[in-house]
């Protein structure tokens, strides 16, 4: 579904991605773990077209999307929930959801999808007329995921959804991610620092260090791997 080949991305003269290869198959949950500054966010921003790569290739369902603008990539069904959630602070919860469906025209179906995300996260329904900026961190993450669902993702990119949240909320959010993956058949590419949880949720995992992929394996194997245990699981 998503295939990344020899991707290199720079910020000015600083090379953040040093030729990475990643493959995410349809229906999978694939995770990318790595320490601060490894280049995980850069990877997602390059895929989404916000930070265009200097070289390499990004293929979405076989189509080359390298260098395409974000507003061309979104309608292809590749949707990102960025790091830090990025809720529009002065828009209400409902308006934030509307923005998620910005490129859609099927108003009737949009209405049903709003009801669907309100079922997933009933708290958002209670807060629908509240400004996004006034929500708690957990509610904002729920809203961020819901806003992404409003775009009808075929593949969902999640950047550290657990960041700064209480364990119980994290569990709730991961359960929903699994549910979306199973029920809607949405492919998920999950970036996480919480390696333990990520590897237990996903099918396949990549480990990133300073702009390079250093390991790629099934999550089962990665959880048993000595290096991974030492570096990322605190064992």
């Amino acid at each position: 579904m998503l295939k990344i080949e020899k991707l290199e991305t720079y910020y000015g003269n600083i090379q953040a991605l040093k030729g990475i290869d990643i493959e995410v198959s349809e229906g999978e949950i694939v995770t990318l773990i790595g320490a601060n500054g490894a280049g995980k966010t850069t990877t997602l921003m390059s895929i989404s077209g916000v930070v265009p790569p200097r070289s390499g290739k990004i293929l979405l369902n076989g189509e080359d999307i390298t260098g395409k603008a974000p507003d061309e990539i979104v309608p292809m069904g590749l949707i990102q929930v960025p790091e830090g959630r990025r809720i529009f602070p002065d828009l209400t919860v409902s308006e934030n959801l509307d923005m998620g469906a910005f490129l859609r025209k099927d108003d009737a179906q949009i209405k049903r999808d709003v009801e669907y995300v309100f079922e997933l996260f009933p708290i958002l329904s209670e807060r629908r007329n509240q400004r996004g900026g006034t929500l708690s961190g957990g509610e904002q993450q729920m809203l961020a995921i819901s806003r992404a669902l409003m775009a009808k993702p075929r593949i969902l990119l999640l950047d550290e959804p657990s960041l700064g949240l209480a364990p119980i909320i994290v569990q709730q959010i991961f359960d929903i991610v699994k549910k979306i993956n199973e029920e809607q058949k949405t492919t998920v590419f999950l970036v996480e620092q919480n390696a333990n949880l990520a590897l237990k949720t996903a099918h396949k995992g990549y480990v990133m260090e300073t702009g390079r992929i250093t390991m790629a394996d099934t999550c089962e194997n990665l959880l048993k791997n000595d290096e991974v245990q030492k570096a990322y699981l605190g064992m």
Partner: protein
């Protein structure tokens, strides 16, 4: 103090405030979206005024109804100014989108000087009379000592523009895209908004309202030259900062506060200090509210 004089000054203040508001909208919207003080914005207002002057001059001999001439001139002025605004963004600001902010600011100042001098060369520095195209409205006769026809038209037009503008920002797709882009450009891209198109549209709207202001003030004052955009631009900029740059209601509020301050200041104190009031007031407000009347204290970046 007599009350007629007070009302006259009050209406005069609202009139000034209206013009400032029509210009200040462009400053504050552009700032809200690309954090640029578009120094050349006042020039768009001036170009709007000149376009209307030229068009109405050309149509003067056609025998058309003067009101119709005025309307045609206004529409052409708006369209022409909007195309100037969009072109300006394309050639002077867009290439500098990723450059330090100072570069874009200098580019804006350069653009302002270029447009002023270009009109100076084309039209000389003399004030040129703007034709009186709008006949006096009969129902204003009883109050003609405090409000004349062009003032009335300025107030009504501004009110209509403000209402339309509010509806646009609140309810339309592009309005929502503008708000989203102002709040978070990266997230706006991630939901599929074409940010370049939003920026272009922002210049289009800002230039159009400024041009409306330019046409209205010309018919009110009756004469224009190349320099009117600079003065009005600075005042409207002060108004936008006063209200809190980046805030749309702030720009409108700031404009009326400024217009009224100037009007009462010149009426009751001295007209010699007309331009001093604006800046004195700005300084006083900013001492107590550094981010303006309706501005947000500081932008929080998560």
């Amino acid at each position: 103090m007599n009350s007629t004089y007070f009302i006259e000054l009050f209406l005069g203040g609202l009139t000034r405030g209206s013009i400032y508001a029509l210009i200040a909208l462009g400053y504050t919207m552009v700032y809200g979206i690309i954090q640029l003080i578009n120094f050349a914005h006042g020039e768009i207002y001036m170009i709007g005024a000149f376009t209307a002057l030229i068009v109405s001059g050309a149509l003067a001999f056609t025998g058309l109804d003067p009101v119709l001439i005025f309307l045609i001139a206004a529409v052409v002025a708006v369209v022409w100014s909007a195309s100037y605004g969009i072109t300006m963004e394309k050639i002077a600001y867009k290439p500098l989108r990723k450059a330090p902010r100072l570069s874009a600011l200098i580019s804006a100042i350069g653009m302002s000087m270029f447009l002023q001098n270009y009109v100076l060369l084309a039209q000389t520095s003399d004030f040129q009379p703007f034709p009186e195209l709008i006949p006096d409205l009969a129902f204003l006769d009883p109050v003609s000592n405090i409000m004349n026809t062009t003032q009335f038209i300025i107030l009504v037009t501004t009110a209509v523009v403000m209402i339309l503008f509010t509806l646009l920002i609140r309810y339309t797709r592009i309005g929502k895209a503008m708000r989203a882009t102002a709040q978070d450009k990266i997230m706006a891209q991630l939901v599929g908004i074409n940010v370049n198109r939003v920026i272009m549209f922002t210049f289009l709207i800002g230039s159009s309202t400024a041009a409306i202001g330019g046409v209205l003030i010309s018919s009110h004052v009756g004469q224009i030259n190349f320099y009117i955009g600079f003065i009005a631009g600075i005042k409207a900029f002060v108004a936008a900062v006063l209200g809190g740059i980046g805030s749309i209601p702030g720009a409108v509020l700031g404009s009326f506060v400024l217009g009224l301050t100037e009007s009462f200041g010149t009426g009751y104190i001295s007209s010699d200090y007309e331009d001093v009031f604006a800046f004195a007031f700005l300084i006083i407000i900013l001492i107590f509210r550094p981010s303006g009347l309706l501005g947000k204290p500081t932008k929080k970046k998560v």
